[in-house]
Amino acid sequence: MRHTLAVLVENNPGVLARISGLFSRRAYNIHSLAVCQTENPSLSIMTIVVEGDSQVIEQVTKQLHKLVVVHKVTNLSNEAVVDRELALIRVKVKQETRLEILQTVDIFRGRVVDLGRSSLTIELTGDEDKIDAFVRTMKTYGILELVRTGRIAIARSES
């Protein structure tokens, strides 16, 4: 099963190496990892999607806690969360497919952010499934380039 961990860490050089090194040497599998500074400039938040059963996730969490640079580890899979990914996709486009593609982009609530002579660049946000579905659709037209941020997530506020 995939788990989403929110790891609050110090915003220092070398911190990413400590975290990624821990995952590789203990053979935990990172599915995606997104890092950014928080509202407090001395802290960063890492959203790590990791594959494993509950025992593996328990070990991952405990091992992360042992690192001095780690302030907090939250398993967001146990909570109600909002999660998003951002994808930028460059798709081959021809005269006869242009309208079809634009309609699909509209259905998925994406945006065209760049236009070329034979390509379109589309920005799309959403959860993983939505982006996967969009990517599948675009494959029929031919994907030239694709970048995805990996999942970022935040717990829902108590109602």
Binding site: E10, G14, R18, Q55, E58, Q59, K62, H65, K66
Partner: protein, 585 residues
């Protein structure tokens, strides 16, 4: 000529400061990083450091001349770490070692890994190239913080000299609290020379670092209930018992409840070897009774252990399968890492045991003891007295003659297992061995560190001819510092443990185990100024040991033992205890 040389350096590196009198005077006059570092070490109570100088450390070595800290110069950087490691294990203080950048730092990697595996508190100081050269593959540069990430509890690369007081404070705090371990501080050359205006912080401020001392009260009550109701309990005690000084509490517990105890290699000394409740060491070369007890118990009380594969045979699902497991450890990540604990208690072993003691009822264990005593009768630790020099006999004699207060350090291999089995350790912190990493070459520098920690105690190094040659250069260190270490060399002319494995499991297809060109060790010792004596016959053992002990300086005893001696009993890796070799009568 001097100018030409200077110009060459200037051409290569505009900020290079040539170590002339002028620049020396300049860095001496100000309160620089090197002096701040040494002042902080003094504040932390450091009396001696084991180190080896080099180019980037010149400012520090200059400042050392004016410090109260004593510097010990082993003959290899790896020895500096091992010596600091053993110093820490024997004294209970934080060990400090120092090496220069590049090869000096890289040579310490094995020693750091050794300390990390056995949870030894160390502060490791490494020199580094000046900050503006970092990352340029400059002369004697290695990324030592990067290289040691997986084997340090934490590490620092100091970029601002004003951070030194805070970092040193934090390093000692991190190394010595919670589960101890090595902390590395990498010190660029220019940082050592830069002026420091900051002062020592009042308190350590590490909001992300927490450790547990007291165990959870509810869990302790659960554990007490389980113990009181058990029929076949056994305590499995490890290095954590020694680290937390829980030996006395543990003795009180097992005596009050009359329950048996087994120890790991790291746990040797936590319970006196003569204690009637002690069943011996558990694991691959442990006693048959200890292993059968763990296999058959209904309650396993694990204290300060990590279920190492040398204990579980790497078979976590077939280990102590009939038992409920109480796991007491200060490191939450150890709980459930290998074996599922039914009652986990995160905390300091001593504090947990002290809380547990008044809450437990004496369980009914007489039938269990009858079984255990029967096994002890049936499967004692024994060896064949065949008229030759037996290693086991030497170790028993050493125990008789050496006295209770002697410190024994070992290297790694057959002699280490024989020492663990046959040398009677009565006191915690008196048996120092490389357990987790199994580092050949550890023993001799460890003996040096142990002797500095206990200058008035007898220190024995139990070693083999393979291991000893990995650190043989330290003979010079023992002479230089007049360390009266007694070297018990089990010389069989082979790498005995590997030979034993090739004999038992590879149809005697021996390969690369003959040490054909072994020197005459007595002559080597004499060349360094160490007394040496060859011992060939059993009747010579006691007189030789007495002679060595009575001699005021270092002494090497070269014991000629047979390459056919094997360590038994043995539970082969990947087998369960019922498949033990050499346990039967």
């Amino acid at each position: 000529m001097g100018n030409v040389k200077q110009d060459l350096f200037v051409a290569r590196d505009p900020e290079f400061t040539w170590e002339d009198e002028e620049s020396l005077a300049r860095c001496k006059s100000k309160y620089n990083g090197a002096r701040a570092l040494l002042d902080m070490l003094e504040k932390e109570g450091v009396e001696l450091i084991f180190g080896y100088p080099g180019g980037v450390l010149l400012t520090l070595y200059d400042a050392l001349l004016d410090s109260s800290i004593k510097h010990i110069l082993p003959r290899h950087e790896q020895s500096a770490v091992h010596a600091a490691d053993a110093y820490a294990r024997v004294s209970g203080k934080v060990g400090v070692c120092l090496a220069t950048s590049g090869p000096g730092a890289a040579n310490m990697v094995t020693g750091i890994a050794n300390a990390y595996m056995d949870s030894v508190p160390l502060v490791v100081l490494t020199g580094q190239v000046p900050t503006h050269l970092l990352g340029t593959d400059s002369f004697q540069e290695v990324d030592i913080t990067g290289m040691t990430l997986p084997i340090t509890k934490h590490s620092y690369l100091v970029k601002d000299a004003n951070d030194i007081p805070r970092i040193v404070r934090e390093a000692f705090y991190l190394a010595s609290t919670g589960r101890p371990g090595p902390v590395l501080i990498d010190l660029p050359k220019d940082v050592m020379a830069a002026e420091v205006t900051s002062s020592c912080p009042e308190k350590v401020h590490l909001p992300s670092y927490k450790y547990f001392s007291k165990g959870n009260a509810g869990q302790i009550i659960e554990a007490a209930k389980a113990i009181s109701m058990s029929k076949k309990p056994v305590v499995y005690a490890g290095g954590g018992v020694i680290t937390s000084a829980a030996g006395l509490s543990l003795c009180q517990l097992i005596e009050k409840l009359n329950i048996p105890v087994v120890t790991t290699l790291m746990g040797i000394g936590s319970i006196p070897s003569t204690h009637p409740n002690l069943l011996g060491m558990v694991g691959m070369h442990g006693t048959v009774t200890a292993n059968l007890a763990v296999n058959d118990c209904d309650l396993l009380i694990a204290v300060g252990v990590r279920f190492d594969d040398r204990v579980t045979s790497g078979l976590k699902h077939r280990f102590a399968t009939k038992a409920k497991v109480i796991h007491i450890d200060i490191d939450p990540a150890e709980i459930g890492k290998v074996v599922r604990a039914n009652i986990p208690i995160v905390g300091d072993a001593r504090l947990v045991l002290e809380d547990l003691l008044p809450k437990v009822q004496v369980p009914e264990t007489s039938a269990w003891w009858n079984q255990l005593r029967a096994w002890q009768q049936e499967y004692p630790l024994r060896y064949e007295q065949n008229g030759h020099l037996n290693p086991q006999m030497i170790l028993e004699a050493l125990g008789r003659i050496g006295g209770e207060q002697a410190v024994v350090t070992t290297d790694v291999g057959q002699h280490q297992m024989w020492a663990a089995q046959f040398y009677p350790v009565k006191v915690p912190r008196h048996f120092i061995t490389s357990a987790g990493l199994g580092t050949m070459g550890f023993g001799f520098p460890a003996a040096i560190g142990a002797q500095f920690a206990k200058p008035d105690s007898l220190v024995f190094l139990v070693t083999g001819d393979g291991s000893f040659q990995m650190s043989i250069q330290e003979l010079a260190t023992t002479v230089q510092y007049s360390l009266p270490i007694k070297i018990i060399l089990m010389n069989n002319g082979v790498l005995g443990m590997v030979r034993q494995l090739q004999k038992m499991f590879y149809n005697e297809r021996f390969n690369q185990i003959q040490l054909h060109a072994n020197p005459n060790f007595v002559k080597v010792a004499e060349a360094y100024g160490v007394k040496g004596l060859r011992v060939d016959k059993p009747e010579e053992v006691e007189p030789a040991l007495i002679k060595a002990i009575d001699y005021p300086g270092p002494f090497l005893l070269d014991f000629a033992i047979s390459p056919d001696e094997v360590v038994l009993p043995m539970v082969p890796s990947g087998k369960v205890i019922t498949e033990v070799l050499g346990g039967e009568d």
